[in-house]
């Protein structure tokens, strides 16, 4: 595998820069689509706000789940003041949970963007962006703070596109060409505190690897779009970004003395590092569509990242060099009427090299996938009108690791579906699927295969408009095979056979009943541990009734009965036949009633009761374990638009159960556009 060389200059993570880059590119893209500033999609109904050219939207929500309380509110303000366009987003989230070590969490974030378009300036625009983040979490044993502030200026120009348009698109007015370049410069500042406290009483908080950073960011981005010829579209984008940060990381252990822990001397580690990060990214997309029945697409991307940060694991400044190259080809075609073909081929290479950490890793993947869908015509005689879908694919991956053995991963898959209507009342479908994953280590220490086979056949019959029946059979086999002898004793082949029949009937337009019968068996065979072989057999009947008692009142009744037995499934070596020894049984029943009442068009009341009984019997000693559970759930749902732009949406449920203390679950949202 490739291994990056030590960088000459240190760096920091790009996570702070990326949102800015994305936001700026979004802004530039919006600008590119129009020569003049676009008004907000909606206009404020308030005369004052309309006169001010702003459109505020406020939303607030509360979530309660047992002792967990969350409250969130968001304010969006879009503004259009002549050539200046502003976007603001502020949100605040508060969470409290006394049952989770007295968790208290306060998260706030504000985003503000201001863009000024130079009228008649050939698509020049400039502006500023401000991103403010404050996160605070505190519990009985920890305290974390994650604060950050980014501010930046940007300039966007469409002039390169205007100047080069004659060269790129010629005089053909049907062709379009654009080239947008965006440059930005900003400052970034962040503070991160991690503190933990031992569980013994009286322990003070310890500071662990808390970081303070400040620095500058720079970014240059280019987007080129070209309709080069008839049916051929080309998009090229590229970006250069860099971050220079000064980082101070502090780790402090306070001393304490108590019955459980010995005294620990004070220790303070302070690391000052000048971090330098850089990212280069280029993407290319070409799409060629010569007609309605054929399309080729090519996607390519290359990314080079170098970032520097404080590594808590290695107690020092880490440098990470990343590489990601990918090339993808897609084909979609309709070679004959009714026959649709698509295919994807992809090659990808990634590599991560770390200076301090000995966990460099790389991956090289080749992916191929093809599928076809068609319907057989009259020339197929009895086999006509078959709807056939088939898919086949293969993925080969080479994993390279610095300290562990390299290995190859192979995936092969194939799937086929055949469906046919037999007359107007019968539909038959057969599905087959197979997939294998194979890991091959260079030292063969952990070689492993996993195979999955699926066969499914079902037939549906609707004798009339009221009745609906379905019969299905399914076979699934899973094999987990470790190749080395040291791990092969856990090799397992699991086979599942399932047969199911369903009958549905509409007694009246307001009453539907259905019943489902199913039998399935699961055989677990350990190739080298016959004594562990198990077989379980399950029979299940599910019944359901749905009734609209009145136009406003609905009733749902469900009953599920399941019987299962299980035991050893051993091979008799004299007859070479497997024998089943039943060891345990399980009876399970659940009955539930739910009612829904539409109090108004926007408010629905709901109430339900559930009874659940489970009885497990161990046949060897006759021991019976019986568990019962009774549950009531009641509440309501609201979904209402109070006026234009003002809506509420929520639900509340009160649960009383024999399994735990009663509790509320509430979710409520209110949104208002002014």
């Amino acid at each position: 595998m490739s291994r990056g060389t030590a960088p000459r200059r240190p760096r920091v993570g790009l996570c702070r820069l990326l949102p800015l880059v994305l936001a700026l590119s979004h802004c530039a893209e919006a600008r590119a689509q129009s020569g003049t500033p676009e008004p907000p999609a909606r206009v404020s109904r308030s005369p004052i706000f309309r006169r001010m050219g702003i459109l505020p939207t406020y939303s607030s929500g509360v979530d309660i789940n047992r002792t967990d309380l969350g409250w969130r509110q968001t304010l969006d303000i879009d503004a259009l003041l002549g050539p200046v366009r502003g976007e603001n987003n502020w949100n605040l989230t508060v969470k409290d949970n006394p049952a989770q070590n007295n968790l208290r969490s306060r998260n706030g974030r504000g985003l503000a963007k201001l863009a000024y378009e130079v009228e008649g300036g050939g698509g020049w625009a400039s502006g500023a962006q401000f991103d403010w983040r404050r996160n605070f979490t505190r519990g009985d044993f920890n305290r974390t703070v994650d604060n950050g502030t980014n501010a930046g200026l940007f300039v966007t120009s469409e002039t390169p596109g205007l100047l080069l348009r004659p060269l790129l698109a010629g005089r053909d007015s049907t062709r379009t060409a654009s080239w947008i370049v965006t440059g930005s410069f900003g400052a970034t500042e962040g503070k991160n505190v991690r503190q933990t406290r031992g569980r013994a009483a009286g322990n003070p908080l310890q500071t662990q690897d808390s970081t303070a950073t400040d620095g500058v960011t720079r970014n240059l981005e280019s987007q080129l779009h070209l309709d080069a010829a008839r049916g051929l579209t080309i998009d090229l984008t590229g970006s250069l970004a860099s971050v220079r940060e000064n980082s101070r990381t502090e780790s402090r252990n306070a001393s304490w003395r108590n019955e459980d822990l010995e005294a620990v001397p004070d220790s303070v580690l302070v690391t000052d590092t000048p971090n330098r990060s850089r990212s280069r990214r280029a993407t290319a997309r070409a799409s060629y569509r010569p007609g309605d029945r054929l399309e080729f697409t090519m996607n390519g991307a290359a990314t080079r990242d170098r970032s520097q940060y404080f590594s808590a694991t290695n107690r020092g400044q880490e440098t990470k060099v990343g590489l990601d190259d990918r090339l993808e080809l897609l084909l979609r075609a309709e070679p004959m009427r009714g026959v649709k073909v698509s295919s994807t081929a992809r090659q990808q290479k990634t590599d991560i090299a770390l200076t301090l950490d000995p966990n460099d890793a790389g991956k090289e993947e080749t992916y191929v996938d093809a599928d076809i869908a068609f319907k057989t015509g009259q020339r197929f005689g009895y086999l006509r009108d078959l709807q056939i879908e088939a898919e086949a694919g293969a993925t080969d991956t080479r994993y390279a690791r610095e300290t562990l053995a390299d290995y190859d991963g192979e995936n092969r898959r194939v799937r086929a579906l055949v469906r046919r209507n037999i007359g107007k009342r019968v539909v038959a479908a057969v599905t087959g699927e197979s997939q294998i994953d194979r890991l091959s280590y260079d030292d063969k220490s952990q070689d492993r295969d996993e195979l999955r086979l699926l066969g499914d056949a079902n037939i549906g019959y609707r004798p009339n408009a009221k009745a609906d029946t379905r019969l299905s059979f399914q076979f699934t086999q899973r094999q987990a095979i470790n190749i080395p002898a040291a791990q092969a004793s856990s090799n397992l082949t699991e086979s599942i056979y399932r047969i199911e029949a369903k009958l549905g009937y509409k007694l009246t337009p307001a009453v539907e009943i259905s019943q489902t019968y199913s039998i399935y068996a699961v055989a677990s065979e350990f190739d080298f541990n016959e004594n562990n072989n198990q077989l379980s057999r399950t029979s299940e009947v599910k019944s359901r009734l749905i009734s609209s008692l009145t136009p406003k009142l609905r009733l749902e009744l469900d009953h599920d009965y399941r019987f299962r037995d299980s035991g050893s499934y051993l091979l008799d070596r004299t007859t070479n036949v497997r024998g089943y020894g039943r060891a345990a049984t399980e009876d399970y029943q659940v009955f539930s009633v739910r009612t829904y009442y539409d109090l108004t068009e926007w408010f629905e009341l709901t109430g339900g009761q559930k009874f659940e009984v489970r009885e497990n019997t161990t046949l060897a000693n006759g021991r019976v374990t019986r568990t019962e559970r009774v549950e009531f759930i009641g509440g309501g749902d609201i979904r209402h638009t109070l006026s234009e732009g003002f809506s509420v949406d929520g639900n509340a449920r009160w649960t009383q159960t024999s399994a735990e203390k009663p509790y509320w679950k509430i979710s409520f949202r209110m949104t208002r556009s002014y």
């Binding site: 295919s343 076809i372 190749i483």
Partner: protein, 199 residues
């Protein structure tokens, strides 16, 4: 477009054939097969010690029994004998009994996916012996620790052993195992043998 049709069908057929022939798992190595256990030629007692540790690690009764001589006897510590209700439990403990008991223990370790390990002490004092029936070499008070580990539990047996070896056809093998408890909280291998299963 019509000229492309044969190409589409050929590609589809080739892709289908390419993947459908691959849906078989490889043949795993048989964990019961002694050939998969690495062993040294038994040219001296130290090699037999190394082999026994490897056989326990690979949980292979077959390979383990290769190290055990035909005249093998196991003599437990009296403390282990008194730990069981049956005072005759360890009587006439020979090679056949060792094969059954170790077979059960190692099979259980495999079935429960336990990691097993035997570590011999480094303080080894090897001397010659002649008990009138056989002659060879022996280690006195050799420390050992046997561990069975899973994600849920860890069981440790430890003790000391007077371990006797004889040479047969130029290959060394274990002749006698005299087990001793070591006074630690751990049970000894005699207790493990008597229980015939891992605690």
């Amino acid at each position: 477009m019509s000229r492309l049709r044969p190409l589409f069908w050929t590609c589809g057929l080739v892709a289908l054939l390419a993947v459908t022939g691959c849906f078989e798992t490889r043949t795993p190595e048989d964990p019961n097969n002694a050939d998969t256990v690495p062993r040294k030629p038994r040219t001296d007692p130290d090699s037999v010690l190394w082999n026994i540790a490897t056989c326990i690690e690979f949980k292979s009764p077959t390979a383990y029994m290769e190290q055990i001589g035909t005249l093998f006897t196991f003599i437990p510590d009296p403390a282990d004998v008194s730990a069981f209700d049956d005072p005759t439990l360890f009587n006439d403990w020979d090679r056949a009994r060792e094969e059954i008991v170790l077979g059960d223990i190692l099979t259980e370790a495999r079935a429960q996916n336990l990691t097993s390990k035997l570590v011999w002490g480094t303080d080894r004092d090897r001397r010659d012996f002649n008990d009138g029936v056989a002659s060879g070499q022996w280690y006195e008070d050799l420390d050992y620790t046997i561990t069975f580990v899973s994600t849920l539990r860890r069981t440790t047996y430890s003790g000391r052993v007077d371990l006797y070896f004889v040479e047969s056809n130029a290959l060394w093998e274990v002749y006698k195992w005299t087990d001793k408890v070591d006074g630690s909280v751990n049970r000894s291998s005699g207790y493990l043998r008597g229980r015939q299963q891992i605690d």
